[in-house]
């Protein structure tokens, strides 16, 4: 029962985080908040990927003095490697987005997209 709770709270939590982010991207009007929401979506999907590779009662995929051989059970290393990549890519996108926000703010002196021609939707 407890395992069930743990597993599904990871899946459910990360999916919910993605949708909180999506809702934020769609509903917020402040450009910085939209980027924050995008960051939340990134975190959510990263968490979900790692959770999909989780194996119950397994070890972190490192062979060291604690787990001296690969006979022990390990969690799946591939999603972890993917998530490493995805975190860095997400940060790169957010940083570029913030630079754009700063430039747009210079021009319009506002962060509100409904006051910016070309960003209204």
């Amino acid at each position: 029962m407890l395992n069930f709770l743990e597993e599904w709270s990871f899946f459910g939590g990360s999916i919910l985080l993605i949708f909180i982010g999506l809702y934020g991207v769609l509903s917020r009007k402040n450009m910085i908040k939209i980027l924050i929401s995008l960051g939340l979506m990134d975190t959510g999907v990263n968490l979900l990927l790692v959770a999909l590779g989780y194996v119950e009662a397994a070890n972190a995929p490192i062979i060291n003095s604690v787990n001296p051989s690969n006979a022990a059970a390990f969690v799946d290393p591939i999603p972890q490697a993917l998530v490493l990549t995805s975190i860095v890519i997400g940060t790169a996108v957010l940083a570029l987005g913030l630079a754009l926000v700063m430039k747009i703010y210079d021009k319009y002196s506002t962060l509100n997209i409904s006051e910016i021609r070309g960003l209204k939707w």
Binding site: N3, L5, S9, L17, I32, G39, L40, I87
Partner: protein, 80 residues
């Protein structure tokens, strides 16, 4: 352990909702940083220490710093 992680997930979701709900951008950014930080702990629980380190260093640390910098270059910089 399961209870701790479920509890952390609840905190994370609450922080995420708060990040959207706050009117003050700085609070929003800090709440989003908290989401990343709890996510880093959760990664550790999921036996992903590498990812946890990356999320803590890049996701929670640098990203938050970049957001705060951008905030002070835009709205905060003007009002003060």
């Amino acid at each position: 352990m399961p209870l701790i992680s479920s509890f952390l997930i609840l905190i994370m979701l609450a922080a995420a909702a708060a990040a959207l709900a706050f009117d003050d951008l700085l609070s929003s950014i800090i709440a989003a940083g908290l989401v990343s930080l709890t996510a880093a702990v959760l990664f550790y629980f999921l036996k992903a220490p590498d990812v946890a380190m990356t999320e803590a260093a890049i996701g929670a640390g640098l990203t938050t710093a970049i957001f705060v910098l951008a905030l002070f270059k835009t709205e905060r910089g003007k009002s003060e």
